[in-house]
Structure formats: structure tokens, C-alpha cells
Amino acid sequence: MPEHGHKTPHLQEHLLNIPVPDYAPELRQLVFDYTLQLADTSLILGHRLSEWCGHGPILEQDLAMANIALDLIGETRSLYQYAATLEGKGRTEDDLAYLRSAVEYKNPLLVEQPNGDFGDTVMRQFLFDGFHYFLLKALKHSSDQGLSAIAAKSFKEASYHIKWSSEWVIRLGDGTEESKHRMEKAVGNLWMYSGELFMMTDTEKQLLEAGILPDYTSIKQQWDEHVAKVFSEATLEVPQQVYMQQGGKMGKHSEHLGYILTELQYLQRTYPGLEW
């Protein structure tokens, strides 16, 4: 029998085996949308971190950021594969990553923010890691088998990420005058994007009702506690009453995402179906 499609056979058969849930079409659509949102989030942050490769302040931290990027992109692949299975229309993980436009991407604004200096990158990672860690911890118990399997896997990795970013926030915040100043600046640049992580979209609210998603209120509470504890050790102040930016989860992005996708999708857009 002739091979179908253009993918090399050895890659195609090593895809994840996640059983397809028996959902009504509406619920299946919701889980698909949410899975994509999570995948977009880890892909864009993983891509941002990968931009540091070869430019890190010291070799060990260059490697650390590349490793965290790798974990996030690994999580992304699982999520896109699961989303493709849920959709069941023949799209692959590559189609989902490389052939959707910026308005179709549903990552929160935080993860698309530029790397800035090392302090900005550490702060962006720290704000995200707390959310990611506590979300995955709860999602492990989701009634959706696909999400719970991916969460259980990625949670173990995320526990290393949150330690890394927390330690750096403390080291730099409670470091030299210059490093403290930079961290205060990073808080000023990024804090306004932290709120969106916990704002529930209609999709998320419906999945909460369906018993698939945890309530973000409790995740926010755990995040608040962790941030307060680390900031206090870092001698940084937790900002109060900041106006929170939002939109990314609805597909309304900052100008940065277009540039990221231009680079990320360049090869597939220019040479459709290319592989190596």
C-alpha cells in the first residue's frame, strides 16, 4: 500500500497515544480550544526562551533557559498532538503550530513580551511559572484523561522551572544595587500582564462547569502566596492596584506576536510541507 501524506513514516508513528474521549461535539470543541490555548502559551514562551540560546549571561544559565525552552516545547507537542486528535480533521501538530495566524493564537500577553534584559526574562518566567506549576498540579486531577496525562508529565518539569526562576528573583532582587534596580524595572514592565493568566475566558468558565478545569481562584491564591514569599526574600515589593492588560487569550495580541510568528513560521510559510 502506498504511503499517505508527506510525513516521513518513522516520525508519524511515534506520536503520543492518548485515547480520544467520548464527548458531545460542543464539549469536544471546548476541550480542543483550551488545549490549543495551553499549547500556544508554552510554545510562545518556549520560543522566547530559545532566543537566548547562545546569548545567556553565563554558560550555565544559557543552558538552563534552553532546557526550560525544551521542556515547554515538549509539552507543546503533546498538547498540539492531543488537540489534533480531538479535532479529528487530519490537521497535525505542525499544522497547528505553523499554519495559524496571530488572531488564532490564544496565549496570554505575558508570554509574548520581549526578553528584555536577563532580569525581564527571569521576571516573566517567574510570573508564568507560578501559574503554570499550580495549574498543572490541579490539572493532574482533571476528568479529561488527555489533559491530566500531559499535566502529570509536565508538572514534574515545571517544579524545576519554578525553583529556577524563584531563585533568580531572590538572587537578583536581593543582590547588588544594579540588579535590584533592574528587577524593580522588570516588575514594572511585566506585572500588568500577570492578571490575564487568572481571568477565565468563556471557554474556561464552561470547562470549569463541566468539571474539567480547576477554579482559578484557588490557583491565584497559591500564586499570590508564592509570589509574596519570594518577593519578600528578594526585598521586592508586590505591586498593588495595577491595571491589568488582557486580550491574548481572546486572540487580541500585542504587536510582538506577529514578529514571533513571522520567524517561527517562516520556513513552513515559505516552503509549505518542507521537512528534514
Binding site: 518513522h10 508513528e13 511515534h14 497515544n17 492518548i18 550555565e60 507537542r77 484523561q145 514534574k156 524545576y160
Partner: protein
């Protein structure tokens, strides 16, 4: 030596002992604990594997190496199933595997890193694989591959890799 007739499934496991991790060639995929199951139905051999880390770039190579090994040993149809759940843990690393790691110069995983509040690696004692001193320090939680951390020995001063705990 008396050789009992091994079933085909046992033979497959024996062959898998000869397939090594591409990044840590002293460990077999069985030592590493990534092979979760072997099933045979008629001519079809199905091997279930699980990734160590989500983004582990060695998984495709491991899957291909397993397939090629079994095909070369005469099994006609081999399929590889990649499963995430239950998630891999360093508990699945065999005792033989841990000894091989240490002999190779990589400190084997010793204990969980504790919760996220135990920052700065204060809780883990890792033994230097070169001089066996326990007076070592963490350089970075992220090392040369996803599964390793960087350490340095305070006694012999050698830097070394630590196969970090994942539970």
C-alpha cells in the same frame, strides 16, 4: 549452563537490553525505565515506551533504534507506542542502571528535590562519582541534557553531571 527456552516476549526484553540510550550509551533503554510494556500478537510485536522528559530529543532515536533492533533479530512486524501516563520517574531507573551511571562518571539520582519552597538546592546530598566525596555543590539544576544537573566536587574539584531526580 542450563538454558531454559525463553518465550518470545522474554527474548524481546533481552534484545532491548542491548538498545542503548543515545545520550548515555552505558544505559540500556530497559535500565532507563522507558520501556513500559512488550506485547506480541501473532507476528506483531508492540513495544510501549514513555519519554523521560516531554521534550527529550532522544525519543525518536530510541523508538527507531528499538524497531531496527527487533527487525534485525527477525521479528517481522514491530510497532512502537508512545505513552505519557503514568509519567516516567527516576524510580524506574534500575539499580544496575544506577551503578552503570556512577561508573560512567554521572552521579545517580539520590532523593527528591523536595518541595518548591526548598530553594537553592539546600536539601540534596550528591556524591562525587570520581572521588566519592559527599562534599559537593550544585552549579545548575539544568545540565547538558534535560535529565541532568551540573555539580562540582569541593574535594577533588572536578565538575560532574548528576542524573536528577524526577518524581
Amino acid at each position: 549452563m542450563v538454558k531454559t527456552k525463553a518465550t518470545d516476549i522474554e527474548k524481546v526484553w533481552e534484545y532491548l537490553e542491548e538498545v542503548t540510550d543515545p545520550e548515555i550509551p552505558v544505559l540500556s533503554v530497559v535500565d532507563l525505565g522507558v520501556v513500559r510494556d512488550v506485547q506480541i500478537e501473532g507476528e506483531q510485536v508492540q513495544v510501549t515506551i514513555t519519554p523521560t522528559y516531554s521534550g527529550c530529543p532522544a525519543m525518536n532515536t530510541i523508538a527507531t533504534d528499538i524497531k531496527l533492533k527487533l527487525l534485525s533479530e527477525g521479528f517481522a512486524k514491530v510497532s512502537i507506542d508512545l505513552k505519557l501516563s503514568p509519567a516516567w520517574t527516576t524510580n524506574w531507573l534500575s539499580e544496575a542502571g544506577k551503578a552503570k551511571l556512577e561508573a560512567y562518571g554521572i552521579a545517580p539520582p539520590v532523593e527528591p528535590e523536595g518541595d518548591i519552597h526548598a530553594l537553592f538546592g539546600r536539601n540534596t546530598t550528591v556524591r562525587c562519582p570520581l572521588c566519592q566525596s559527599e562534599n559537593t555543590r550544585l552549579i545548575s539544576q539544568f545540565g547538558s541534557t534535560a535529565c541532568k544537573a551540573f555539580y562540582q566536587c569541593n574535594e577533588c574539584l572536578e565538575p560532574f553531571d548528576y542524573f536528577k531526580c524526577l518524581k
